[in-house]
Subunit: 277 residues, 2 copies
Amino acid sequence: MNLAINIDELREARISLTGKVGLVPTMGYLHEGHLSLIRQAKAECEHVILTIFVNPTQFGANEDLSKYPRDMERDLALVKPLGVDLVWTPSAEIMYPTGYQTWVEVEAVSYPLEGANRPGHFKGVATVVAKLFNVTQPDKAYFGQKDAQQVAVIRRMAVDLNFPLDVVVCPTVREADGLAMSSRNKYLEGEYRKAAGVLFKALSAAKLLYEGGERSGEVLKGKMKEVLANEPLAELQYVSCADYDTLKELAIVKGKTLLSMAVLIGKTRLIDNFVLG
Amino acid sequence: MNLAINIDELREARISLTGKVGLVPTMGYLHEGHLSLIRQAKAECEHVILTIFVNPTQFGANEDLSKYPRDMERDLALVKPLGVDLVWTPSAEIMYPTGYQTWVEVEAVSYPLEGANRPGHFKGVATVVAKLFNVTQPDKAYFGQKDAQQVAVIRRMAVDLNFPLDVVVCPTVREADGLAMSSRNKYLEGEYRKAAGVLFKALSAAKLLYEGGERSGEVLKGKMKEVLANEPLAELQYVSCADYDTLKELAIVKGKTLLSMAVLIGKTRLIDNFVLG
């Protein structure tokens, strides 16, 4: 397993990777969700590049950049047995040197949901992913469905800017009680950890209605809100029932559809989603 | 010489180009300036891709998109003898299909000069060039020094977004009286064509001062204005004496410096520049 920090080191190491290359971009503090991306990349590509970079430009001024969990040693130990060829861990100064001034913005699909709650977040995401694509030049890039809007933004960017690669979306990996794996779950303790199971419960209840034939977006959202309201430690930010690609809210569910939500459990902000259809 | 219109056709043809590939992106209506870019690309690369695309997103609402000169047959006849391997002529619908929503913006270096006079212009330029880079995947991309700020924006974008290629800047090609070659020169007739020589005269006069030791930005700009004022058909839009990379105006000239100007000759807007130092 090769380690690179500088861009020149990465490019040098990249040259020797012949055949299909899969990229797994992460912010580190890896969990089973990340490892599942690596395993799928390994199964589909000759080589796998893992990037670990806590991207400052996707954090808002009031967000948890400085507190975001980091543990490089643990991360490297976790991925070593998985056959990752190359790990790139650039610094913020390498990614955004003095004079840096270029941004990639995806418009409509960035605006609702997370975009409305986290101004500038997807501009930071799209920009750093464009940079990661250009440096690592993968054939396939792997992202988790857990961050559903991130996936929608990156898929749109890849198509619009004609990146010569496939964006592969992998299923959300969950804890035993259904809580979606996330580096931020580390913040959840005791009763808060227990309460966090309510996101999965709310999504499951709405899915059950859908499977019973319900197609009203309002009814499906109403069911999610109802379940969330029963958990006193949960504070709803939004629930959504939207088209999977455009993220436009749906009055009547038709085709591939995203049920999603953001919920505060104490001070910890969690997101989760189910894909229907 | 292969011709491609659709992106899939281009990608298919691109695969067979092994060795270094040079890209010459143009808006067509080719002149000796474009041909010089092709010749330099041919000299430095195994293969040359020429793109011809009048990019609607870099024209303002009041600009000359619909009237911009086009002559594909003439263009193809001009480049055939030069050994271009592949010509890509996409339509606006291919480049910006329904639902398109991704933009690349380069900040500070886009703001002054042309950027101040043509809002949105460099957003359109940066976006289309990023797309052309991703589709054609060149090792080197060739641009004319004539469009000095375009060159500064694209160089900055290529560095910031880590495009794996070299941006090569080629000297401005001029008519006998010094007028920089431009597709828009077609608009100039009779006395207007004659008057257009004043841009070169103004730049030359300032350069002469510089070579005599003058280092005041104000004095060099004053000289350009003075020469332009002597031509009744010329209406000054701006003159600038700025750092070559950042385009920040210089009180005292130091290092690589750009003298530039935009001038209306009748209804035709012309730009030109000299690089000092």
